[in-house]
Amino acid sequence: MSPNFLSNLQPVFKPRKVSCGTIPCYGYKGTVKQELDAGVVTRGQAIDLLEDMLTIREFEEMIVKLRSDAYEPIQGFNYRGPTHVSIGQEAASVGACTGLAPLDYITSTHRGHGDSIAKGMIALRSLDTDALRQRVPESEAKTRKQLLDAALEDHIFRTIAELFGKEAGYCRGRGGGMHIADFALGHLGANAIVGGGVPIATGAAMTCRYLKNGRVTLSFAGDGAYANGIVLESLNWAAQKQFTNHLAKDDAFGLPIIFVILNNHYGMTGRADEEVLGVDPLARRAAGFADNNMHAETVNGMDVLAVRDAIHRASAGCRKGQGPYLIEVDTYRYYGHSLSDPRNEYRMREEEEAWRTVDPIATYSQQLLDAKILTPKTLKTLQQRVIDRNAAAARAAAAAADPDPADVIKFMYTDTCADKVPEAHAKTTLINPPPEIKRTADGMLTYRDAIKEALLEEMIRDNRVIFYGEDVADYGGAFKATKHLLETFGRQRVFNTPISEAAICSTAVGASMSGLRPVVELMYMDFALMASDAISNQAAKWHYMSGANVKIPLVIRASVGGGKGYGGQHSQTLESMFAHIPGLYVAYPSTAADAKGMLKAAIRDDNPVLFVESQLLYGEKSVVPEGDTIIPLGTADIKRAGKDLTIVTWGPAVADALKAADIIGTEMRLDVEVVDIRCLVPLDMDTILASVRKTGRCIVVSQAINIGSFTGEIASTIMAEAFDDLDAPVLRVGAKNGIAPQSHILEAAFLPTAADIVNAAKQLV
């Protein structure tokens, strides 16, 4: 039973015409009365829709008023923070979230207060008494209704508290309004990078598809985001045929994701309709990525029922494996990008007035009155209840405790790891027996096979570990480190991806947020720059920005091509750049044994790990223990003990350092100690300092160019911590401060060598 697939593509150039199909627009004609009569919604749900829209508007108007100290309940409170209010878009948020099941996933945007409020209110209403009580354990409420009221007020309180930067906020004041999230209720985070949430949603949908948990993911993003590369990569990703065709075999299931374009017609101030885009409607984007146009349609975003209807149909389709879906929600932002934007530079007052005539709250309130679901009096009561609840929440939030300044970098990392695999995930079905990994008679393995052995062992141990990247499946990876993993685990867990490095890494963030432990591969580390938002702004930051409410157990394997004559875009040693990003672990093993032990540790760690490998090392052998040997991240290794001179290094430079150590020993009679840090982050400074304290001399070596290299960070820390132990300045050896050349003559001159290290040593004595 082979999951492999050999293509047999024939040249067929027969003339034909391709239709891109039709995209229905504004097709919904329903009213609340009709929906009631049809039993689509209950009276209570119909009122909830209004209540949620009112709550959002009251919330956003609070922000507007706070800017001029006109919000009466907390007069005098100084709100400092963003003011990306979504007034006018309430029907989009509420309609979309009610179209989902209560605990489906969403991702949101910088203008995400409405999405967050709607998602929470709808999810809370679905919770049972016990779950509600867990949300508000202090509440004295007796009945479920009282508990729900308390939980709803608590939801508004925690949302406002987050905006106010309070410890009681959803993200403990670390995230703020632009990064608000409540993972417990399926809100995977607002994202302040335009388009940043779309691939995260795509990754979460991969989790839903893989775990077959029946959940759907909805991604909110604006018209502006739909011109961004990562969003277009995500659309292509979601529509891959391998999810639904014969390659998926019994697991064929379209990715359960709904791409919601919140088309409010302005990307900040850029006009979507006549200026910065070229399609109308924007839903046509889908036609570029899926033969079925992702069931794309455009709906009236000022009509909560129209939005709800479209999302409801889409989520039902997703649950049947018909995803992905793309729904354009045509809506309008009454205010500017933020309150500092007066709008009059780019649009007319008449335009705003026209949109206000179709105000989602006013029109829907009228429908409820017309349908006699509400009377003017009960409407007034509802409005007042919302006002009072928000006011109470705001007062509590304003009075809530600020975070302790001493905790400013708390939550950067978690100290947890998957040391125990839950029973449900400890069962692994192997499609075929794992490939035999042959050791030499003395127990040696290549670095390449050590990587493979680690992946095999970890994927067998924990079925949440999935592995994907470019050419990693049938082909076994550009450097053959993952050959036969596809055969062993099947395409659900090992698959090729489009050439979309940003999507590879970003979807992995979404997958790790929602329960998987993905390992992804970047063929060359240079391509990590294509994915730098995913790695630096998303993977690295979410644990902290969420106030430790989510973990990102993710490994990004990146291979350095330096030394092979591949030129400037395939040869860079870039780990220093990522070591500069807090929230990320950065590992770079130098031997096969380290590669295996560290990769296993990385996969089990609950922090995102950038795991750097070197193509120069794949063929290098060392004795690699069989079985479960873990090398904890952040432990340096003394590769050679000595007493006169310390060389601190990592990666392929370790071999150069060892060579240099021999030469220095012979020529200079100095006994060199080589410390392989193995991880840049976390850095085992204790081992480095102990060595330098012993020897008094230190050279820090890496294959990176010296400008901005992590070697400087180590050198400066040594000077600060062990100054009085130094007999000479700490020197650095790296590549020439330039761009990797193709010519092997030039590249030999470019990369650091053992001779460079020896020369540095001569300057120290």
Binding site: G696, D724, D725, D727, A728, L764, V765
Partner: protein
């Protein structure tokens, strides 16, 4: 390989030195630390030890011969080794390559203040002008020459920490690291050469020595087996040279200048103060309270008027005359000595003079003298009458021609009219600059002062 013996650079300004005596002759076996020869500099005769062991193979400089510092004066090596017939030329810039400050070549014995720089804390200045290691030694010639500072001795942090921990002074250690930097191995070698480990010290003494920066190698231990005790460190602390404060430094400089450049001669007289003291007591009873000092100063003023050359000064083969008498009164203070000046003293009557003396003395003791009140004196009186001294001589204040030293008035048996009687006698000594004042003039001047003090008619007139 044969090692060159060089003429050490021992003094701050020494450019050359003379070998006065060889202790070894060619062919002698030499151990490290053996005295090779003695040299004479402008200040002293010093012994030069060998840094090397071997055999003295060659000497280039004979006893009595003077050569530039850093010149090679001989070779030590293994017998039979080939050595140059002639010494290599002395290096022009003997300083280490990194020391690009040619003026900064003072021997780093920083506890002695740099003579020309009377700074209050002349510790070894870390000169900001000392370039970083990477700066080429050939600094631009146009760079301003920094003020002479004590050379900074390059030492690695590790070596310095070891030196500090060991409580030793590293400045005499030769550095063998890059650019002559002292590295840990140099300190260890030095400690071993100095027998550091064989010099026991109590932990408390070591802690104190580290805290106070005492070089334990300079301390003799008084405990069992020569163990250095806390009391030894305390003694070393008490004996530690202290830089002078600014006032003392100025005094030192000025008096050295005066005493070494002015040919002094001294004339002493014995003044019979009996009657003047009697008159003073009588005046006091009538409410007129004069100090003895005011009488002495008035007598000096009157004598100076008679001998204007004593009120003049010498300058470059010229006599500088003064038409006024600005009289300095040497006044002892706790922290030194000041000389307040009574301006135009010859214009003041006795009570005005007394008033001035009181005012200036009070200001001097309170440290409130203005610069103008401490300068420009033409003659100085130093009165130690209250200090019970028989006699003393004073050093002429720079810028003056003479100074009068007044000793205590004491009852003495003297001969008057052929009888031995007890009289109140006071010795005075004038120190004079022989370039402008001859012995006879000095003698006549001081006798004029004496005569005035013994002339009761004069005082009755002046006090009436």
């Amino acid at each position: 390989m044969a090692q060159a013996i060089t003429m050490p650079k021992l003094g701050q300004t020494a450019e050359e030195s003379t070998i006065v005596k060889w202790h070894k002759t060619v062919g002698d076996k030499i151990d490290k630390g053996d005295i090779l020869f003695e040299i004479e500099t402008d200040k002293a005769v010093l012994e030069v030890e060998s840094f090397f062991e071997g055999t003295l193979l060659k000497t280039f400089v004979d006893e009595g011969e003077t050569v530039p510092v850093m010149s090679v004066v001989g070779y030590i090596g293994a017998p039979g080794e080939t050595i140059p017939d002639a010494p290599p030329a002395a290096p022009a810039a003997p300083a280490a390559a990194t020391a690009a400050t040619p003026a900064a070549t003072a021997k780093p014995e920083s506890t002695a203040p740099a003579a020309a720089a009377p700074a209050t804390t002349p510790q070894p200045t870390v000169s900001a002008a000392t370039p970083a290691v990477s700066r080429p030694a050939s600094a631009p010639a146009t760079a301003p020459t920094p003020a002479p500072t004590v050379e900074r001795k390059a030492i690695s942090p590790r070596a310095r920490a070891l030196a500090r921990r060991s409580a030793i002074d590293y400045r005499s250690i030769a550095g063998t690291g890059p650019g002559g930097r002292i590295v840990e191995a140099d300190v260890r070698r030095y400690l071993s050469e100095q027998g550091y480990d064989q010099r026991p010290i109590t932990p408390a003494a070591l802690v104190l020595a580290i805290a106070e920066g005492i070089d334990v190698l300079s301390v003799r231990g008084s405990g069992d087996g020569g163990r250095i005790l806390v009391t030894d460190i305390r003694r070393a602390l008490a004996e530690r040279p202290q830089p002078m404060n600014r006032m003392r430094s100025v005094i030192a400089d000025r008096l050295t200048q005066s005493f070494t450049t002015t040919p002094h001669f001294y004339v002493t007289v014995d003044v019979d103060m009996t009657e003047l003291l009697q008159l003073r007591r009588q005046l006091k009873e009538t409410g007129k309270d004069y100090t003895v000092t005011v009488f002495i100063i008035e007598a000096v003023i009157l004598a100076l008027e008679a001998f204007p050359v004593v009120n003049s000064r010498y300058e470059d083969h010229t006599v500088i005359w003064n038409s006024h008498i600005h009289l300095g009164m040497a006044t002892a203070l706790k922290e030194g000595l000041v000389v307040p000046v009574i301006r135009d003293a010859e214009t003041l009557n006795l009570s005005e003079l007394q008033q001035q003396i009181v005012t200036l003395s009070t200001k001097a003791r309170d440290g409130k003298l203005l610069p103008d009140e401490m300068s420009g004196s033409t003659f100085t009186v130093s009165n130690m009458g209250m200090l019970n001294v028989e006699n003393f001589t004073a050093i002429i204040n720079p810028g003056e021609g003479a100074i009068l030293a007044v000793a205590s008035t004491q009852p003495k048996a003297v001969v008057r009219d052929g009888k031995i009687v007890v009289r109140s006698m006071m010795k005075m000594t004038v120190s004079s600059d022989h370039r402008i004042i001859d012995g006879s003039v000095g003698a006549r001047f001081i006798n004029a002062v004496k005569d005035k003090l013994e002339d009761m008619e004069l005082w009755k007139t002046l006090t009436s």
